[in-house]
C-alpha cells in the first residue's frame, strides 16, 4: 500500500499542471471534490422540489378541497379553480417519497460526503476511478432529469406510492399515473440504481486499496467506516430493486405475469395468471429496508465525527461503534418482512421478522448511548454542525423508540399504514438523515468551498427546524394511533376522524414554517459560496486528514507527498499534549502510546 501511495504521489506531482477547460473542471469533472459539489447541488435542488411537494399535500390535508393560490400556480390543470385533484395528491405523495429517499438522502447525502471525504480522510489522491465516478454522477443527473420530466406527463406522474406496489403500478387503467408516468419512474430508478452501484463500487475499492501509509482499518474515522458499510449494503441490495423494476417493466409492457394474476378491471378480465404481488413486495423491501440504513448510516458516521470534534473528546467506544455499524448492516438485510406482516404472507414468517427486527434496537441503543457518553464531560463547541448532530441523536431516539412498536407484528396489525408509521420513519430516517446532511454541510463547507457559512443564520436554521420537526411529526403518532390511514386525499368522508382535523392543521402550520425556514439555509449556503468569510486551514481544529490539505482545491489533494498517519482519528484532549487535538499525521511523541482502541 505504501509503495502504491508513493508512486501515485510522484505521478500526481504534475497533476495540477494539466490545463483545465471549463468543461473538464466544472461539468465533466473527474475530481472527487467537484463531483461531491455536483451531487450536493443536484440533491439540494431535488430536495427543494420534494419539500415543496410535501407542503402542498400537507395544505390539502389541513384545508381539504379548499382553493389555494399555491396549487393554482404550481399544479395548473391538476388544480382546477385552485382545488387539488385527488390523483395529483397521490402523485405528490409518491414523488415526494421517491425524491426524498433516493435523490436527496441517498445520492445527495451519500454521494456528496462519500465523494468528498473518502479520498481526503484516508489520504488518497482521488477515487480509485475518477472516470466511473464522473459517470456515476451523470447517471444520477440523468435519472433526476427523467424523474422531473415525469412530472409533466399528460396522464400524470407515478402515483402508486413510493413503494409502487403492483397491480396498481402495473395497470394504466387502475390509475392515470400508472401509464407513461410510471414508465418514466421505472426508467429513472433503473438509471439511478446503475449510478448508485458505480458509486458504491468505487467507494469500496477506494477504501480498501488507497489508504495512505499508516491508515489501518482501525485508524479510519467513523465516517469512512459508515460510508464503507453503506456502499456494501448498496451493492448487495440495489440490484434486487433493479430486478424488481425490470420484471415490473416486463409485466407492464411485454405481457408477462410476474406480479399479476386474476385481475378484473374496468369490465374486463386481464390475461395475467400465476404471478404474485407479494413477490414484488419481497423484492422491493429486500432493497427498501436496507435502503433505510443506506440513508441513515452515513448520517451516523458524520454525526460521530462531528460530535467528537466539537466535544473535544474522543468518540466513546470506537470499536463498539464499528461493531454496531456492522451489526446494523447485517441485520438490515434480514428484516425486510416487517413491512409485510399483513401482506398475506405466512404468519410464521411474521414471527421471524419480528424477532430480527427488534434485534436492531440493540446496536442502535449502543450507538445512542455512545454518542451521549461522547458529549459527557466534553468541552462542547456549539457550532451549527454540532447542534444538528445533537438534534440527530434526539430525533433518532424519538423515532427509533416507536420502531419497537412498528416492528412488533402484533402491534403492527392495527397501526400499519396509519400516520403512526409516517411519524416513525420521518423522525428516525427522514429528519435524522436530513440533520446528518445539514451537519455535514455546515461542518465541511469550509473544506468544500473554502469559505465559512454564517453561524447566526445557521443557529436560526437549526432551532426553527428542530422545533418544526417535532411539531410536525410528534402529533402524527397520535392521529395514527387514532386509526387515521395515510395517503387519504381528505378525511372528510369519515366523521369518525373529525376530531383530528385540528391536529392536522397544527401539523401543517409547523410544516409550512419549517419549510420556509429552509430558505435561510439556502440563502446562507449559496451566498456564502461567494461572500462567506475565507476559511482558515482547520477551522474546527479537527484531527482528520482532510484538514491538512490546502484550502484551495488542487488536483491530487496534497501538493507533494501524502501525509502519513500515526494515530487514530480521535486524539482530542489527550493528556500530555498542550493543544486539545492531535492530528492523525503527527507522529507519536517519544514514550507516547497509541490508545489500544
Amino acid at each position: 500500500m505504501s509503495t502504491h501511495a508513493d508512486t501515485h504521489a510522484h505521478e500526481d506531482d504534475h497533476g495540477h499542471h494539466h490545463k483545465e477547460t471549463f468543461m473538464t473542471k466544472y461539468i465533466f469533472s473527474q475530481d472527487h471534490k467537484m463531483i461531491s459539489k455536483q451531487y450536493l447541488i443536484t440533491g439540494t435542488i431535488m430536495g427543494v422540489i420534494g419539500v415543496l411537494m410535501s407542503i402542498m399535500f400537507r395544505m390539502q390535508i389541513a384545508w381539504p378541497e379548499e382553493p389555494n393560490v399555491l396549487f393554482e400556480a404550481l399544479l395548473g390543470k391538476w388544480a382546477p379553480g385552485g382545488v387539488m385533484d385527488a390523483d395529483i395528491y397521490l402523485a405528490l405523495v409518491t414523488i415526494h417519497g421517491t425524491i426524498m429517499v433516493f435523490f436527496v438522502l441517498t445520492a445527495g447525502l451519500s454521494g456528496t460526503f462519500s465523494n468528498l471525504l473518502i479520498p481526503l480522510q484516508i489520504g488518497a489522491r482521488d477515487m480509485a476511478s475518477g472516470f466511473l465516478n464522473m459517470i456515476s454522477y451523470w447517471l444520477f443527473f440523468l435519472s433526476s432529469v427523467i424523474m422531473i420530466i415525469s412530472l409533466f406527463v399528460e396522464a400524470g406522474p407515478a402515483a402508486a406510492g413510493w413503494t409502487i406496489y403492483p397491480p396498481l403500478s402495473a395497470l394504466p387503467m387502475a390509475q392515470g399515473g400508472s401509464g407513461m408516468g410510471m414508465t418514466l419512474w421505472l426508467v429513472s430508478m433503473a438509471i439511478f440504481i446503475a449510478s448508485s452501484l458505480l458509486g458504491s463500487l468505487n467507494y469500496i475499492v477506494t477504501i480498501i486499496n488507497l489508504r495512505t501509509k499508516g491508515m489501518s482499518m482501525t485508524r479510519l474515522p467513523l465516517t469512512i467506516w459508515a460510508f464503507f458499510v453503506t456502499a456494501i449494503i448498496g451493492v448487495v441490495s440495489f440490484p434486487v430493486l433493479l430486478s424488481a423494476a425490470l420484471l415490473l417493466i416486463m409485466d407492464r409492457s411485454f405481457g408477462t405475469s410476474f406480479f399479476l394474476s386474476d385481475i378484473f378491471i374496468q369490465g374486463e378480465v386481464l390475461h395475467y395468471q400465476g404471478g404474485s404481488p407479494v413477490l414484488f413486495e419481497h423484492l422491493f423491501w429486500f432493497l427498501g429496508h436496507p435502503e433505510v440504513y443506506i440513508v441513515i448510516l452515513p448520517a451516523m458516521g458524520i454525526v460521530s465525527e462531528i460530535m467528537a470534534s466539537n466535544s473535544r473528546k474522543p468518540i466513546f467506544g470506537y470499536r463498539a461503534m464499528i461493531a454496531s455499524i456492522l451489526a446494523i448492516a447485517f441485520l438490515s438485510t434480514i428484516v425486510w418482512g416487517h413491512h409485510m406482516f399483513i401482506s398475506g404472507m405466512n404468519p410464521f414468517l411474521g414471527s421471524v421478522f419480528t424477532f430480527t427486527t427488534l434485534l436492531i434496537a440493540i446496536p442502535s441503543a449502543v450507538k445512542s448511548f455512545n454518542w451521549m457518553t461522547t458529549i459527557w464531560k466534553g468541552n462542547i463547541q456549539m457550532n451549527t454542525a454540532m447542534l444538528f448532530s445533537i438534534g440527530f441523536v434526539s430525533t433518532f431516539i424519538t423515532g427509533g423508540l416507536t420502531g419497537i412498536i412498528m416492528g412488533d407484528s402484533a402491534l403492527d396489525i392495527n397501526i400499519h399504514d396509519t400516520y403512526f408509521i409516517v411519524a416513525h420513519f420521518h423522525l428516525v430516517m427522514g429528519i435524522s438523515a436530513l440533520y446528518g446532511m445539514f451537519a455535514g454541510i455546515y461542518h465541511w463547507y469550509p473544506r468544500m468551498f473554502g469559505r465559512m457559512m454564517n453561524k447566526n443564520l445557521g443557529y436560526i436554521h437549526f432551532w426553527v427546524t428542530a422545533i418544526c420537526a417535532y411539531g410536525v411529526f410528534f402529533p402524527m403518532h397520535f392521529i395514527g394511533m387514532a386509526g387515521l390511514p395515510r395517503r387519504y386525499y381528505t378525511n372528510s368522508n369519515f366523521p369518525l376522524f373529525d376530531d383530528l382535523a385540528n391536529v392536522n392543521v397544527v401539523i401543517t402550520v409547523f410544516a409550512i414554517i419549517g419549510g420556509i425556514f429552509q430558505l435561510v439555509f439556502l440563502y446562507n449556503f449559496f451566498v456564502s459560496i461567494f461572500y462567506g468569510k475565507k476559511a482558515p486551514q482547520n477551522p474546527w481544529r479537527s484531527t482528520t486528514l482532510e484538514w491538512t490539505a490546502p484550502v484551495k482545491h488542487i488536483h491530487g489533494n496534497w501538493p507533494g507527498e501524502i501525509p502519513h498517519v500515526y494515530r487514530w482519528a480521535y486524539d482530542y484532549s489527550k493528556p500530555g499534549h498542550d493543544v486539545d487535538f492531535v492530528p492523525q499525521n503527527v507522529p507519536l511523541k517519544e514514550g507516547e502510546e497509541e490508545l489500544q482502541h
Partner: protein, 355 residues
Amino acid sequence: MTAFLTIIIVLFVAVAIWQMVKIFDLAQVGSSNSQIATDNDNKINAYLMLAFLAFIYIITIVCFVKWGDLPLMSNSASEHGSEIDNLMIITMVIIFIVQTVTQYLLHYFAFKYRGEKGKKALFYADNNTLEAIWTIIPVIVLAGLIIYGLFTWTSIMNVNEDDDPLIIELYAQQFNWKARYGGNDNTLGKANVRLINLDNANILGLDESDPNAQDDIITSELHLPVGKPVLFKMRSQDVLHSAYMPHFRAQMNCVPGMVTQFGFTPTITTADMRQTQQIKDKVANINNIRAEKSKELAAKGEAALEPYEFDYLLLCNKICGKSHYNMQMNIIVETQEEYDAWIKEQKEFKDSLIK
C-alpha cells in the same frame, strides 16, 4: 382566505428571522467574526438546549392530554383486541420512560458541558463495562417484548377452525367493499374473477355450477353476530387493498390472485358500544365540531353536515387509486337474533342472478 393567511405567515416569518439575526448579532458584540462558535454562542445555545428539552416534554404532555384518549388503546371491540392493547400499553410505558430519560441526558449533557475557553475535556475513550451494560439491558427488555409480542401474534393469527367460525368473504374492488356469507351451509362457493359476468349480475365471479355457491349471500354492509368467532377470507379483483377494521384491531391485505385471511370474535354490539361513556364523549365532541362547521357552511349558503352517529367501520388502508380515501363499509355488530333476522332478508346468490 388561504392566500391572505399565507401572506401573513410569510410576513411574520420574515420579521421573526430579522429579529433573531439581530438578537444573535447583539449577543456577539465585540467578538471576532470568525463564524466559529464563541463562549457566548456556546452559552446561548446551551440554554436553548434546555429550553428545547422543555419543549419536547411539553409537546409530549400536550399530545397525551389532548389526544391521548386513544380509541386504539382501549375500548377494543374484539376478543383479541385487549391483548394487543395490553401489549401496546406496556410497550408505550417502556418507550416513554426511555424517551424521557435519554432526552434528558442528551440535552442536559449538552447544556452542562458547554464549551468554555481554557476548559479541557475528559479524555475518555472506552469502557467495556459500560458497553456491556447498555447492550445487555436492551437485550433483556427486548427479549421480554419479543416473547410477549410473538405469543400475542401467534394467538391472533392462528385461526382455530374447530370453533366453527362464521365464514365471511371480504371482497375488494376499486373503490368499494362487498361481503359474502356462506349461507346455510356456512361454506363459500368457489369463485374466480374470470367467472365475473356483469350481464347476469354475477359480480364476484362465483362458480354458478358449484352447489356451495347457490346459497351464498352477497351484501354491501357487514353484519356480525356478537360473541361468535368470524373468519374473514379476503379477495381483491383489481389492485391491492387492505381491510382495516381499527375498532377490532384487525387488518389484512386483499391481494389479487390469492385469498388471505384474518379471524376475530366481536365482543360488543354496535348498540352497546354507542352507550359506552368513551364513545358518547367522542361522538358529542365530534358533533360539536360538525355543528361549528355547519354554521360556517350555512353562512356560505351550503348544506349543513349531518350529525354523526357511531358505527364500526371497514376502511381501505392500502393505496388503491383515486378514490382510495373513500372506500369504506359499515360494520354492524348485533345479537344473534338480530343477525338471523337480517340474514334471512338477504337474497341468496341463485336468486340474485338475472336469468
